[in-house]
């Protein structure tokens, strides 16, 4: 898992990197005056209680504790020597990820818990601050970086405003939501997000994680993190099913959806199941006017990490054939998390070179418009 372990032979685009805030108050400089004043208004409190985020509404759902296998679910070697949590230090991230693996572009998906906040106003403020922090402290400083737009996704109109605010900056390549939400994402509370994605020509990325306050499986709460991790595929399946059944892909005909860190071995079985059920029950979903599998293959993309690992390596080739979406699979490392996929070892078989290149570079370059070398810094900010 070091540079010496092997440089990837083809150019790489890493579609899932989790950069982090260096400190809890790192977003404060990017928060509007109104919110800074609210912080100042807390001056009657001892200093340690004056953090706006923690004191004025960083409330989310509680009661599902599944401790991760490592601190911050991260590789133990990813803690920057200069301090701060993994992937909070650009220089160290450059050295350990971008340079080590010769990565041409990396897409930043910071997981800040903003979309899960119960205080929607604060979520909107923090999303805006987070995006400005991303631009100023990451995108402005390394031309290899791209980012997802953080949105308060439980507040559709506010999320849409944030998408419109940043839609002109080409370094923001997609809109980020998390897989476990309050409602299935085909439901209309989320439609303003999809309208804004279309208006700005941006894909919608659904990333592993989040919580909408429901038991994390349809059978109730399990006991262990391994179940939490394995059950996430169920949330993705319910989201795909919801987007299809609610007719979202017909209502928003240019919307493209990227499923990140959800695996994809479940997708062939879901397509078989959906197609069969749809043939019997389609009267219920008049907007879904084609076999669901056709829409899945046209409109969904998946990232590689954490790929399910077939029992026998050659079954990975079978899986790719069952999936039939080779042009929609995009490489990701999930840096700095514990289950990081090293580019040299990510695939259980040696892929044919043309397929390897598509997965490791070209598919993402096409989706995100990265085919041409980018300018060192973007304009318009």
């Amino acid at each position: 898992m070091t540079a010496a372990a092997g440089r990837a032979p083809t150019p790489l685009i890493d579609c899932d990197v989790h950069n982090a805030l260096p400190a809890d108050d790192a977003l404060h400089p990017y928060m509007p005056a109104e919110w800074r004043e609210r912080r100042d208004g807390l001056s009657y409190l001892p200093a340690q209680f004056r953090n706006v985020r923690e004191n004025l509404g960083d409330r989310s759902y509680i009661g599902a504790e599944y401790p991760r296998p490592t601190p911050r679910a991260s590789r133990v070697d990813a803690w920057p020597p200069g301090g701060g949590p993994p992937a909070s230090d650009l220089a160290f991230t450059r050295a350990q990820l971008l340079d080590a693996w010769n990565i041409r572009y990396a897409v930043l998906n910071p997981l800040l818990g903003i979309g899960e906040m119960l205080n929607l106003e604060l979520a909107g403020v923090l999303a805006r601050a987070a995006n400005d922090w991303l631009a100023a402290e990451w995108l402005d400083r390394d031309p290899r970086l791209r980012a997802s737009i953080i949105v308060p996704y439980e507040d559709g109109p506010a999320a849409a405003r944030e998408i419109d605010r940043l839609g002109g900056d080409p370094r923001f390549v997609q809109v980020l939501v998390l897989s476990r939400m309050i409602e299935p994402m085909g439901r209309r509370r989320y439609w303003p997000i999809y309208e804004a994605c279309e208006r700005n020509g941006l894909p919608l990325a659904v990333h592993n994680g989040g919580w909408g306050g429901h038991p994390i499986t349809p059978a109730g709460y399990p006991s262990y993190y391994i179940e939490d991790a394995a059950a996430m595929a169920g949330a993705f399946q319910a989201q795909v099913t919801s987007l299809l059944c609610e007719g979202v892909l017909q209502r928003f005909p240019t919307l493209r959806v990227v499923l990140i860190e959800g695996g994809f071995a479940w997708l062939p079985a879901l397509m078989w199941r959906l197609d069969r059920a749809w043939r019997k029950l389609r009267a219920e979903v008049p907007a879904l006017d084609r076999p669901p599998s056709e829409l899945v293959r046209e409109r969904f993309w998946v990232s590689t990490q954490p790929m399910e690992e077939p029992e026998r390596p050659e079954q990975f080739a079978e899986l790719l054939e069952q999936l039939g979406m080779t042009e929609h699979i995009m490489f990701s490392t999930d840096y700095p998390h514990w289950d990081f996929d090293a580019p040299a070892q990510a695939f259980p078989i040696r892929l044919p070179p043309d397929i390897a290149r598509r997965i490791q570079h070209d598919n993402a370059a096409d989706l995100y418009g990265l085919g041409m070398p980018a300018a060192a810094t973007a304009t318009g900010r």
Partner: protein
């Protein structure tokens, strides 16, 4: 697609020597007063003097296209009597043994005494009006599915009646069944050598998905597969198959095409996270292959023989599948579609041998 499905007919070719076991035939309680003879004075009076009509369960909307074979639309009494099941399910398939499942949603009834009384009444109704009348049938014990201790007591009560082959639990639970809250029931299942059947459905109040309540029945139907996977993960992760080395689980009406992806995901995670569940000394796939079987309806695999063979190879063997008609539900267009596209040897296994081994039917009946 619109052609009405016949039951088995001349187009269905069963391999020579097939002894067919149908692992999922539904028995429907027509109305709560059908249970009155076994309900006891108190609950009879409650039912008669309130609007209580038994549990609410919309897992199978009665008019949904998957819920009733088209030839049965408007027919009264479907799956409500032995005569109906004999004529429409057992006869056409020349069934040797059928596992009768009454998915009576006791988990929707929050009053624990009512749930226990209803469970006892349903099991008595099955024993006296179905099993007494038809020797080809085996029963599934309904238990109060929010109350593990009471559920265990119900299993113990019927342990002497070998015609009950399994305990049926709704796959959508309040808490996954591997959780140690459920060990009293699993103890009883193991004590009496019964099969644990996880059946599609469940009305605990938990949403049908981890992202809340979907709009359509189509979504709920498709998402049911995730509930089965959550239960299997729970049984493995909590060590149920280590604690009960003879425990056998049948997943009924949940499909099976998702099994390879579950195995591949779960094994990968186990390699990284097994410290959390040290009692799992084998990879999850080993437990699943040894202890779990799945019914064939709804058939959710590829229809072509080559694609199906590949899926079966990924699952591990044809021994994991057990035939079901899911009568009176409508999962297949033609009766022939109810049979997986495999060769005669595998088909014989799926049609009967696997279920006979699962339930120990030879042992029980001879």
């Amino acid at each position: 697609m619109t052609e009405a499905p016949a039951a088995a007919d001349a187009r269905v070719r069963l391999p020579p020597g097939t002894r067919l076991v149908d692992c999922d035939v539904h028995a429907v309680v027509p109305a709560i007063d059908a249970l009155y003879p076994w309900l006891g004075d108190h609950w009879r009076e409650v039912a008669a003097t309130t609007q209580f009509r038994g549990p609410t369960d919309t897992a199978w909307p009665p008019t949904a296209a998957t819920s009733m074979r088209p030839d049965l639309a408007g027919v009264a009494g479907v799956a409500e009597s032995v005569a109906d099941v004999r004529e429409r399910a057992l006869g056409p398939w020349q069934t040797e043994t059928a596992i009768l499942v009454c998915a009576y949603a006791t988990e929707a009834v929050k009053n624990p005494d009512a749930a226990a009384a209803l469970s006892r009444a349903v099991n008595s109704w099955v024993a006296e009006t179905w099993l007494d009348a038809e020797p080809r049938l085996r029963g599934s014990l309904v238990v109060p599915a929010l109350d593990p201790a009471a559920a265990a007591a119900e299993v113990d009560h019927w342990a002497g009646d070998a015609r009950f082959a399994q305990v049926v639990l709704p796959v959508r639970s309040m808490t996954p069944y591997g959780n140690r809250l459920w060990w009293p029931l699993l103890d009883a299942v193991a004590r009496h050598g019964l099969v644990l059947c996880l059946h599609a459905g469940g009305a605990t109040g938990n949403p049908p998905t981890s992202i809340g309540w979907p709009t359509t029945y189509l979504e709920e139907y498709v998402d049911m597969a995730s509930a089965f996977q959550a239960q299997l993960m729970s049984l493995v992760a909590e060590g149920a198959f280590s604690r009960y080395p003879d425990l056998r689980v049948l997943c009924a009406e949940g499909g099976f095409a998702w099994l390879p992806s579950l195995m591949w995901r779960f094994d990968r995670l186990w390699r990284g996270l097994r410290r959390e569940i040290p009692w799992t000394t084998q990879r999850p796939t080993a437990y699943l292959r040894e202890h779990v079987r799945l019914t064939t309806q709804p058939f959710d695999g590829p229809a072509d023989a080559a694609g199906f063979a590949r899926l079966l190879d990924q699952i591990g063997s044809a021994e994991m599948l057990c035939f079901s008609t899911d009568y009176p539900h409508w999962q297949y267009d033609q009766a022939a579609d109810a049979l997986p596209p495999v060769g005669d040897d595998d088909l014989r296994r799926i049609l009967g041998d696997n279920a006979r081994a699962l339930y120990g039917l030879e042992r029980r009946t001879r």
